[in-house]
Amino acid sequence: MTIASAEGWVRAGSLESYKPDSSNPWDKYKAAHLLNRAGFGGKPEEVEHLVKIGYEKSIDEIVNYEKFTEDFPEVDFSEVDRLKKELLEKRTAQALGFGQKPRDDPEFRKLFQELQRANRQAMAESVSLWIRRMIQTRRPLQEKMTLFWHGHLTSSARDVENARHMHQQNEFFRKNALGNFREILIGISRDPAMLRYLDNNTSRKEHPNENYARELMELFSMGIGNYTDEDVKQAARAFTGWTFERFGDEFIFRPPWHDYGEKTFLGRAGNFDGTDIIDIILEQPVTARFISRKLFEFFAYPNPEPELIEQMAGIFRENHYELKPLVRAILQSEAFYSDKAYRTQIKSPVQLVVGTIRLLGLEGIPERLLWLAMSLMGQELYAPPNVKGWDGGEAWINTSTLFLRYNFAYFVVTGKLPGAQDSPRGKGLEGRLLRTLSRFSSTFTPLKLIPKSQTPEETVDTLIDRLIQAKINEPERDKLVEFARKIQISSSSEPPDEAVKQIIHLILCLPEYQVC
């Protein structure tokens, strides 16, 4: 794989702003790179738009996304609310001495099962809405950052088991996508899904639960090696009593559960509560480095140079942990446009699936199936594998997931998703959804993606341009052209839809399609 525009790529390791000039122009390759990393990939017309408005305006459009209005529906929780209310009333009646114990009451059990079903439905709706946003949004960076936070400040629906809490957390991430890191840490420490996921909701002064305190430091802010096990114990004391209402959706502080004693934390002593702990964490120089580094790796490339990390951490601290200046600095840096970054990132399953749907302009696929497809490939939204989130990079790829990615290519052109029914998430899918699919596959007309009367070479180049958005090696291109000839793509007659689908399929099965 050679780099697209051979001359004119810039220095890795530099946070200096990239300055386009004649030897190093702002072109469709760089614009596509920006759209890939700051979003989920751009269609040819979107790439062209950024090329046209120029580099600086492009960055502005991406980063200052608030100016674009969005209009997405709300998730409907009315059924969940109704059932919960009924159950609670019944429960209260029973607590007052009327009727049987809930466990023995068939009506109670039935209601409870209905609530569980409604909750699962709402969970699927919430994820589906998120996937739809990623595909349709005019604010790609906001959704990309929402994904970043979901993978960084993880919670899993498997433990949380509450659709509204997961949905609230998702909305919190979206609202604060490029907000202030201190506010994000405080907010997430009070977030019901997180409180439940890392068990702080039941932590009391008698025997504090260490789960949240440990991961707050190890994974969310400082990184391992920058605190002791004793600091974990002390921080856990400070967060005792931070919980949410039973059966409710709001944070509450329970004074009788809280440890008001003096704590010693990272060398400081005082009667700290959770907010103090967060402030002390933010005083540690390592925190700004840890977060800058993780963001840079998310957008640009792994293992950034130490000087680069220092510069980013400096920007982060100077701006009082505001994220926008930091993310902006990354996206406009020379490092971001260097060959160390360009087309070196293995697409996450979300990137692959959302990007493919966007680039091919596919419509009518239920998002629940896309959720399933991503899950099969190893990225189940609302259910990261563990508190560390997804490792990313090469960890996305192994013999199992690579076939699953190639099976997704099969799904795109045939409407059949191998393994769907056998997977735990697929088992719940109704036949209705799968029928929708066969309809979708018959309406997918890739012919509209290629101009009329193209030679096999032109057809292949058009599709590479749309899907890979970079030049690929000659031998691979030749191989694709040979294939196009074989399946009778020619300029003299309009090719059959199936033939175009088949080239698309082969392109989606290229290693080159797995990177961006």
Binding site: S203, H207, R214, Q345, L376, N398, T399, S400, L404, K486
Partner: protein, 426 residues
């Protein structure tokens, strides 16, 4: 759909060469890694020390999240156990006693019957010096067999076994992980080892069955490693090659053997069953790997832990019944481990926090069964400053014993040091 059968990476490259001949002017595009495969291929598999049978199999079961060892193998004579666990302690009467000191959690009934049959070794108090209580770092230590601070090995202890003791093996299926995230333990320099979730999805499917256009040949060609290529594309093409080479072998093996044993309807048992099928179908794999998660029981541990132990115990029991039926029980050794045990004293959430030492199980017909080592003391002065147990046996002694005595490998070379062997294998 007719597909050419290719068995080794060398054959694949050669075939790819043939397919791509028209497209390339350069005579060869073998990669660095592939050059290393040019040694004559011994299809038997791994080369072992003299005197050790070559058809032995290791199955590694990972209990992810930190299994509560104290509620797995319970030291019911120790008062501190009951004093520190008012909600979680298992009452003496329901413990499945192994002797007058220790016994299994009642959920391990099936494991107890395997124990009574002489299939189980219990190794007590396993850990390493300066225990790390991070899931991720401690898991890394177990996977790489290197607890040195600041040192992260690139390859796993099993991967290094593939690398060092397997000079001529060429089949990626030498190591098989069930699931979609291969463990660091299996990572080898040679890039051997595969992961698969289900045999059905472990294959490439052409969308149209048109005999005139063999898309699969183009697919192979475009997924063949290219000489001089580096970075993610090289990595992707190598992975694709391993996947393509193993796909048919795996599906053939699975279809060659049908189990008559009834497995429990759990995900874990399903994975055990798949492994039994691959063993029964003679895939030629030396190490199988599977994981079960959920052991990070910081809250409401009681029911969760009980259910997890039941799944593990019943799944392993069905697996060994199956192996018996196949006549393969003698060839298989199963080992369980977790990244750490849990704290002696329970927390206010009805759970336990991250701890240190914990027991391991070694299971197989060919082992010397019994209890190895003593349970770590729970008395306050024997615990570390955080309140956790001190380990008695270094986990690398267990690895060394398995590598040397079971797999016939050079354990010193693989582990970088000499560890005393345990007598569960003679």
């Amino acid at each position: 759909m007719k597909q050419a059968r290719l068995h080794t990476r060398r054959e694949f490259i050669k075939k790819g060469l043939w397919i791509l001949a028209a497209g390339y002017t350069a005579p060869s595009f073998l990669t660095r890694t592939v050059w290393a495969l040019n040694a004559p291929s011994a299809e038997k598999g791994v080369q072992t020390l003299p005197g050790v049978p070559e058809d032995r199999i290791l199955v590694v079961v990972q209990l992810s999240g930190g299994n509560d060892g104290l509620n797995t193998v319970i030291p019911f004579r120790m008062d501190e156990y009951y004093q520190n666990r008012s909600q979680l302690a298992i009452p003496q009467k329901s413990i499945l006693r192994l002797n007058d000191e220790i016994g299994f959690h009642p959920a391990l009934a099936k494991l107890k019957s395997l124990y009574d049959k002489g299939y189980v070794g219990v190794i007590q108090g396993v850990g390493y010096p300066n225990p790390n209580r991070s899931h991720f770092r401690s898991m890394e230590i177990w996977h790489t067999a290197n607890p040195e601070t600041g040192k992260v090995e690139k390859y796993g202890w099993i991967g290094r076994y593939f690398d060092s003791s397997c000079p001529s093996c060429s089949k990626p299926t030498i190591g098989v992980n069930i699931g979609i995230s291969p463990p660091l333990a299996l990572r080898s320099q040679k890039g051997l080892g595969i992961s698969l979730n289900s045999p059905e999805t472990f294959q490439w499917l052409p969308p149209y069955d048109a005999p005139s256009v063999n898309e699969v040949e183009f697919f192979y060609a475009l997924n063949t490693p290219v000489r001089g290529e580096e970075g993610p594309l090289d990595f992707l093409r190598h992975t694709a090659m391993n996947a393509i080479l193993s796909s048919q072998d795996v599906r053939d093996a699975v279809s060659r053997y049908t189990s008559s044993i009834e497995y429990p309807n759990t995900e874990f048992a399903g994975k055990m069953k798949l492994i039994a099928q691959m063993i029964g179908g003679k895939l030629g794999t030396r190490v199988y790997y599977l994981s079960i998660g959920g052991f990070d029981t910081h809250a409401n541990q009681k029911g969760v832990h009980e259910s997890l132990l039941t799944q593990v115990s019943e799944g392993i029991d069905a697996f060994f019944q199956d192996l018996e039926a196949q006549g393969n029980a003698n060839r298989v050794l199963l080992m369980t481990f977790s990244e750490f045990g849990r704290r002696l004293s329970e927390n206010a959430s009805g759970g336990t926090d991250h701890g240190t030492a914990a027991p391991m199980f070694i299971i197989g017909k060919a082992i010397s069964p019994g209890i190895y080592g003593n349970h770590p003391s729970l008395s306050p002065d024997a615990l570390d400053p955080i309140g956790d147990m001190q380990h008695q046996i270094d986990f690398r002694s267990v690895y060394a014993t398995i590598l040397k005595k079971w797999l016939g490998a050079d354990s010193e070379k693989i582990l970088g040091s000499t560890f005393s062997l345990l007598p569960f294998l003679l």
